[in-house]
């Protein structure tokens, strides 16, 4: 069989998290009760005129900047003409001829471990269309139209066909999500539908630079599915060619259960004519400079800084900076005298999993950076041991009492008083005379057992370091 390589480009729709729709003041909440968020403009009743909202422009420009694009001085909306029940006015307002931004890129780590630059051809703004709900049960199956989503603000990111593998595509989508979330423009959730990824895939003999007929694959609702669908489609095309069947331009749907792509329809590209009612968007240098100034520090830059400033390892810093909320929280904790790596460890292994379990968000949590820092300080000073601290942390979600009070009231204070510990140890030694003899007889492993017994006897509150030292001291003749 001939050796083929895949050529992959992505078209990614990202729903901007503006409070209102793109051309009217209806709330941008597609999930509400069907057809609740509608008005004559987004229903496109006769006589209505679209009014472009500048919130959408703000969010779109920030996202484009986060994706390293050149913002165009002039962009304009066109009418993308097609007739389908999800678009009752017969055209979608989209920037076909003059997109908002061009020439972006993201650097991913390729499968070979090397950095690889994947280019973005352009990013344009467009309105979302209505949502069709197909009710297949009952005597006659019917399709219902929900206009809550009609007119929701979107950007579409169109990449160059620079990707060669499912890995490239998945990494690109991951990084695009991180960058866009940092910009504050969208949550970019494939699962929740605020990001939709379509992949254009073709194959060619490795080493050639020809561009063959592509197939579009849609309906992947997780990053894993993006990879799986592309991998499936590459194999399907190879098999087609091996069987002597030509590839034809069409659209396929990913079936996440059967893990196959299914032919859907011929790809249709309707005409695009300039819209006379939405004025062209002209961006001044001053306005753009203001947006650039407002763009937050991006994750790679932030990770480098955390590495430098706080002494986190590169890997730790990179992981920590994947989510802006987490990185910001960490930095607020760092305003207190807390060891950085310890803070990172507690944040990522304790606090974040606890939040996830409780379905809470970091910024809204009762465990504020100052409370978290206080707990860490007490751990660091041996005033509470790690085990007790985990219990204390869970209690902090349920109370606004000061950390110290929670520790004292719960009796979690670490026992670091030597005489108290000596008493506990004396009890343990008396109870486990055989183990003592064993240890003295040269079996050093028995020490661990005795430490465990002492900790248990203290109700978990003993300072484990001191217990160890005292035990050794007592047992050594």
């Amino acid at each position: 069989m001939m050796d083929y390589e895949a050529v992959i480009g992505l078209e990614i729709h990202v729903e901007l998290n503006c409070p209102t729709k793109m051309f009217c003041d209806c709330p941008n909440r597609p999930g509400d009760e069907p057809n609740k968020n509608t008005c004559p403009i987004c229903l496109w009743l006769p006589g209505a005129i679209p009014r472009f909202g500048y919130e959408a422009l703000d969010k779109a420009v920030l996202a484009c900047l986060a994706l390293n694009c050149e913002i165009q001085e002039k962009s304009a909306f066109d009418q993308k003409v097609y007739y389908y029940p999800d678009l009752p006015k017969g055209f979608q307002l989209s920037q076909a001829h003059y997109p908002l931004a061009r020439n972006g890129w993201l650097n991913i780590i390729g499968e070979d471990g090397q950095a690889k630059r994947l280019r973005i051809h352009h990013i344009h703004m467009e309105e979302d269309v209505a949502k069709l709900v197909h009710e297949m049960e009952g005597k006659t199956p019917i399709s219902l139209v929900d206009f809550n989503r009609a007119g929701a603000p979107l950007i579409e990111i169109v990449t160059e066909p620079d990707m060669r593998s499912p890995h490239d595509a998945m990494e690109f989508v991951r990084l695009l999500r991180t960058q866009t979330r940092y910009a504050g423009s969208s949550e970019c959730s494939l699962e929740a539908g605020t990001m939709r990824v379509d992949a254009n895939i073709s194959i060619r003999p490795r080493g050639t630079d020809q561009m063959n007929t592509k197939v579009e694959v849609k309906n992947m609702n997780s990053i894993r599915h993006v990879g799986d669908a592309i991998a499936y489609e590459i194999e399907r095309q190879k098999e087609s060619l091996a069987a002597g069947e030509p590839i034809v331009l069409h659209t396929r749907l990913w079936d996440p259960i059967k893990k196959v792509t299914i032919a859907m329809r011929g790809k249709f590209a309707g005409p695009c004519v300039p819209d006379p009612s939405v004025p062209p968007i002209v961006i001044s240098r001053e306005w753009l400079a203001d947006k650039i100034a407002r763009l937050p520090e991006m994750p790679t830059v932030k990770a480098e800084r955390f590495n430098r400033q706080f002494g986190l390892s590169e890997e730790e810093a990179f992981q920590l900076c994947g989510e802006k909320e987490t990185a910001d929280y960490f930095e607020q904790v760092m305003a207190f005298p807390v060891p950085a790596r310890m803070a990172n460890h507690w944040l990522t292994t304790q606090l974040l999993p606890a939040l996830k379990e409780r379905e809470e968000a970091l910024p809204a949590s009762r465990v504020s950076p100052s409370r978290f820092a206080e707990l860490l300080t007490l751990i660091d000073r041996n005033e509470v041991n790690a085990n007790s601290a985990k219990t204390v942390l869970v209690r902090l979600f349920e109370t606004d009492l000061p950390v110290r009070t929670v520790i004292e009231q719960g009796g979690f204070s670490q026992v670091s008083d030597a005489s108290e510990l000596e008493g506990i140890i004396a009890g343990v030694l008396e109870k486990h005379a055989a183990a003592v003899a064993d240890y003295r007889g040269g079996n050093a492993k028995t020490l661990g057992f005795l430490i465990g017994q002492a900790m248990q006897a203290s109700g978990g509150k003993a300072n484990p370091k001191m217990v160890r030292e005292l035990l050794i001291k007592t047992l050594t003749p």
């Binding site: 496109w44 006589g47 005129i49 009752p88 006015k89 017969g90 004519v273 006379p276 009612s277 004025p279």
Partner: protein
């Protein structure tokens, strides 16, 4: 109710006082008045009731005017074949009619009844609530026997509206706020190329009109518009494409005529649209769809030519104050136009102001071909609306006083 109206308000009310207090004004059925049937002359909008007032309607009422009813129009306001604006102006005791002007309908209507007709600069009056067809060319027009009434209507309806972002953000000019006491120095130009398009009789009438104008103090000089015939082509290409897009929403699903017996949604669209639109509109929409789907290059070229035409007319209006053209063509009667070709012949002299978006006043009584008043258009520079109407007010009051 006469068949000139499709709806008459049983108790028309103003909502405020102002320059229009006591004026009775009619609108057309493609203008939204809350709660009124607004079918825009088409089965495609059958039983459609407006949910809100058009901005122009609300402003007229706020300035003391009453909206008496809404008059019958041609399908979607395109052309004048079934339009009753003329009859309403002549027979129904209105002070003015708020018309729509896609290729000159308002001016030709006014000329038909020997009245004044005014089309403002594009972007000066909000289109919110106007069920349009050609968004980049359409505006309201005002027809009345009284220039002062036209100025008062313009004073009421002009100016920025947060509901129409395609408007200019210039401040509203002040109409009819002052009377020019000294005779303004005005120079008019007539395009030589227009003269050559006309019949001998029309040419004679046009020359006579120009002579009367200079006799009454407005000197006329010949100017050149070598690309005049391109206005119709540009309008035909761009207008039909925009119409095809604008009318795309009429699918018979939420309002309007819906065909029976379709087997699926696609067939329902096709049958409903096929049954809803009349022949003239249908062929215009086909023409636009052809350029959209099959010959987009021509559309783009038309856009470039349009920009060039706008510039050349603006340049001419640096040299003269107004361009003077007849309004109607005698051989091509708008009311008899059955095909798109006929319509464009009938409006060939008015549509340049739609292509360029320039303000234009139709003036009666100057260009008489036999017993027919062909009407005379005064085209002014963009956003020179207040000055154009001031000039006309002064000119006619001065001449009437000396008559």
């Amino acid at each position: 109710m006469s068949n000139h109206f499709i709806y008459l308000d049983p108790s028309p009310q103003a909502t405020g006082d102002g320059p229009l207090t006591g004026k009775r004004i009619a609108v057309q059925s493609n203008v939204a008045v809350q709660g009124w049937p607004t079918a825009a002359g088409s089965l495609a909008l059958e039983n459609y009731t407006a949910l809100e007032d058009a901005t122009a309607v609300a402003r007229i009422r706020a300035q003391g005017g009453v909206i008496v009813g809404s008059s019958r129009i041609s399908e979607l306001g395109f052309g004048l074949r079934d339009d009753a604006g003329e009859a309403v102006l002549r027979d129904e005791g209105t002070d003015a009619v708020l018309l729509t002007d896609f290729l000159g309908e308002a001016r030709v209507t006014a000329a038909d009844v020997c009245m004044f007709g005014y089309k403002p600069t594009y972007g000066l009056v909000s289109r919110f609530g106007l069920i349009g067809l050609i968004p980049s060319m359409e505006t309201y027009g005002v027809a009345s026997a009284s220039l002062r009434t036209i100025s008062a209507v313009m004073e009421s309806i002009a100016g920025p509206d947060a509901r129409d972002f395609s408007m200019s953000d210039r401040e509203k000019p002040e109409f009819a706020s002052r009377t020019i006491s000294a005779r303004p120095t005005v120079k008019a130009g007539f395009p030589a190329e227009v003269m050559t398009m006309l019949t001998d009789e029309e040419q004679r009438a046009y020359r006579e009109g120009l002579r009367m104008l200079s006799e009454r103090g407005i000197p006329v000089e010949e100017v050149s518009m070598p690309e005049f015939t391109l206005f119709s082509l540009v309008h035909g290409v761009m207008g039909s494409v925009e119409a095809s897009s604008s009318a795309g929403k009429y699918d018979g699903v939420r309002y309007g005529h819906r065909a029976q017996g379709a087997k699926n949604w696609n067939e329902m669209y096709l049958k409903s649209r096929g049954e809803a639109f009349g022949t003239l509109v249908k062929s215009y929409l086909f023409q636009g769809a052809y350029f959209q789907f099959e010959n987009y290059d021509i559309f783009e070229k038309a856009g470039r030519i349009r920009a060039r035409l706008v510039k050349s007319v603006n340049d001419l209006l640096d040299a003269v104050d107004v361009l003077v053209l007849p309004t109607k063509r005698k051989p091509f009667e708008a009311r008899w136009a059955e095909t798109v070709h006929d319509v464009y012949n009938a409006f060939s002299l008015t549509l340049p102001a739609n292509v360029t978006g320039l303000p234009v006043l139709q003036v009666p009584g100057f260009i008489m071909d036999g017993g027919d008043d062909l009407g005379m258009q005064w085209i002014g520079p963009a956003f020179g609306d207040a000055r154009l109407l001031d000039l006309a007010n002064h000119f006619f009051e001065h001449n009437e006083a000396n008559a």
